[in-house]
């Protein structure tokens, strides 16, 4: 009675077993690539840098040969395409390299200026890559950047990437720019793709050669590798790289990136030091955030489109060095005006840069979509060509609502 089902089950099991393991791989047979760097190499080749994780460091198990404290190893291969590079990597690394845990792709500046269409097409098609990978542009070469990256707080560089881009909103001096938004803006009708800028800092305590203090903001604006500091991880992340199509055309520094994140509605909070209106040598620190998404309307009735932006900011005091009683209504107005002006100028500066480059990074074209009835009409309008001449009207309004732990400052005793 059981003979037929038993024979059937045996045949099925034998067939399954004899057919092989269907691509099964043990966890310790795989080499996990955590990040990839791409540079332009001579003869139309690419210099591909791979950062591969060493599992025993994190698990605490000592490997059979002497232990090394490093958690990852970096290999650079010169090959014409990424896939060929992976083939060559197989001869260098003992385990089979797999890319499904890549957290970030770093591209050298030179390669980015040539165009990213090759990279993007291969990354979007192969199933192992995802769209949540961070896209970063390196000032200089990606190989140097990846080698120089020695995270001190994190054991694994993948953890460094994830934590870095989870805490970007604390200052918004860089954005979380992943492949998804890059590709979306690359292919759709309006909007310019952007990426994050990383650079190697010389750690000499000197910043960029010349920086322009902007408006009443006491802080200076930097792009990655320009921050004046000593010690720490040589690699820093600051600024945004702006693309036209798939080619890199320009950079936005930290303040401009912050302005961009304000207009995108993505700005959560940030500190700002402005000049004291009544005592310009002293700073006043405030902690401001958006009270609602910016109200952007675009008027396309005339030949030149008119963009109107209304911003409303809220904040609190965090330091008043001069001791002037800005907490009261009469003086507060001055400070609010000061803050509004600062933000106003920074945003206009960013917009003028983008209009000069002809790239609509803020994607104002997103707001004209409801005004059309069909896709053909939208494409016929060709927003991207009209953006450089668009007139922008900006209104910024600030309300400082809280004053921290002190309600007024008593003067320091003069002896």
């Amino acid at each position: 009675m059981y003979l037929r089902p038993v024979i059937f089950v045996l045949c099925t099991v034998l067939t399954l077993i004899a057919a092989g393991c269907n691509g099964a791989q043990e966890l310790d047979e795989v080499a996990y690539i955590l990040s990839v760097g791409l540079d332009a190499a001579p003869n139309n080749q690419l210099a591909i840098t791979y950062r591969i994780a060493i599992p025993t460091t994190i698990s605490g198990v000592e490997p059979s040969q002497g232990s090394s404290k490093k958690s990852s190893v970096v290999v650079t291969v010169i090959a014409p395409t990424m896939t060929d590079g992976r083939n060559l990597l197989n001869s260098i690394i003992s385990r089979s390299p797999k890319v499904f845990h890549i957290k970030t792709i770093v591209i050298g500046e030179e390669l980015a200026r040539k165009g990213l269409s090759d990279l993007v097409s291969s990354v979007m098609r192969f199933r192992d890559y995802r769209e949540t990978i961070i896209l970063a542009i390196a000032r200089g070469s990606a190989k140097d950047l990846i080698v120089a990256n020695q995270p001190e707080l994190d054991v694994l560089p993948s953890r460094w990437v994830e934590s870095m881009f989870q805490s970007y909103y604390e200052s918004s001096y860089y954005l979380r720019a992943d492949l998804h938004q890059f590709y979306k803006r690359l292919k759709n009708e309006t909007g310019a793709p952007y990426a994050v800028v990383m650079g190697i800092n010389p750690l000499s305590g000197k910043g960029q050669a010349e920086n322009r203090p902007l408006g009443e903001d006491k802080g200076r604006a930097y792009i990655a590798s320009q921050i004046p500091r000593y010690n720490g991880n040589p690699v820093e992340v600051c600024g945004t790289a702006v693309f036209k199509g798939d080619k890199l055309v320009g950079f936005l520094d930290s303040k401009q990136t912050r302005a961009l994140s304000i207009l995108l509605g993505d700005w959560k909070r940030g500190f700002m030091s402005v000049e004291d209106p009544l005592l310009p040598t002293k700073p006043v620190n405030v902690n401001i955030h958006l009270s609602g998404k910016p109200a952007i309307t675009v008027d396309i009735s005339s030949a030149i489109p008119a963009i109107t932006i209304k911003l409303s900011l809220e904040g609190e005091f965090t330091a008043i060095s001069s001791g002037i009683n800005y907490e009261s209504e009469d003086y507060k107005v001055l400070l609010e005006h000061q803050v509004s002006n600062t933000i106003f100028e920074q945003i206009l500066d960013m917009l003028s840069v983008t209009q000069g480059l002809g790239t609509d990074v803020v994607n104002f074209g997103y707001y004209i979509r409801p005004l059309f009835n069909t896709i053909q009409a939208l494409e016929a309008y060709n927003w991207n060509s009209k953006y450089p001449e668009a007139s922008i009207t900006l209104e910024v309004e600030t309300h400082l609502r809280r004053s921290g732990l002190m309600r007024k400052t008593m003067p320091i005793r003069e002896d």
Binding site: T12, L16, A19, G20, N22, G23, M124, R127, R130, E131, T132, E162, Q166, H180, Y183, K184, L186, K187, N188, E189, Y366, Y367, R369, P370, F372, N373, T374, I375, Q376, A377, L378
Partner: protein, 367 residues
Amino acid sequence: MQYQTGRMGTAEGIGLAVIMTITSVFSSSPSFILEKMGPLAWVVPFVAGTLIISAIFLLAYTFNRFPGDLVAITEQLLGKAAAKLICLYYIFVFFSIAIFLIRELTENTLLIALPYVDLNIASLWYGLGAAVIVYAGLESIGRVIYLALPFIIGLILFSLITTYPLWEVNYLFPWQGYGLNTLVENSVGLTGMQAGVIILTIFAPSFQTARTIKAAAMFGVGGVCILHSFIFVVFIMTFALKAGSEKILPLFEIARLVYLNRYIQHIESIFILLWVTIGILSIAACLFTCLFLLSRLANLATIRPLIPAITFITVELSRLPPDITLVVKLASKIYLSHFFGALIFPIILFIAAIIKGRRKKACTYVR
């Protein structure tokens, strides 16, 4: 016969209606329709759903006047030869759906789940999975789907809603897309894809009343259409028109985008459980219907000896097209032809019923 007459209730009916329509949710249809219609694509599932539900309602009206299942009614209204022809046609409909489902499921497996498995192993495995379930019978299929329905819907909705940070509403405009005239031709294709809902009328005597069939069609097909439309909306909002038209598996891509924090990411592997289950169940339901109609046509006493043979034939036929683009092209053409079975033939029957049944009174509901 394999089933007991008159015992299946609304729950199993909803299960059957859902399984025949929900496979289109996992297919490439959003990207095709998006390419042709633009942001108007989300209306298409509603139109297709309405057409299918109205077809079932027309047939339910017919059942109130003439007893029996679809083949028996055709015999009464249009004659014996027409009944045999229609039987043959529906065998073709369900057989083709089964073939394309096996092929699509195998291709999906090779693309997403097990990239290095042999094609033969994958398609034979799905054939085997479906064949074992056909032995169990249609009632079990309906029950299992009804049991799994909350988990299926919950998982799909979870993955859709957790991509909320990436939604950009304005990409749903310009709302007319490439023009309203594109609506009709694309809805026809999707309606044909859901032609399997006729299964409710082929097994009509097994359901309790005609009201059960109507309720099953309305809730089953309606629910899936709302879900399908929601997937379209989220897909358009997340990927927008141009980037979205490139994707081959839209729901899978949405699932890959989920990134809430360091731990809730890479959840698309859980989806494999979902679409494997749904795929095998729908293949089994189609095969069962096909075999049942075959036994009606040839007056066989039972379908059990035929199951291994027909499964093997289906698997072999599914391997005929050499590459995936040809599969998709063929599939869209054949699904378009199913529109006849989905909507046109019920209308013909309905008109014939009105003409012939003018003097017949409608039977009262049992209980």
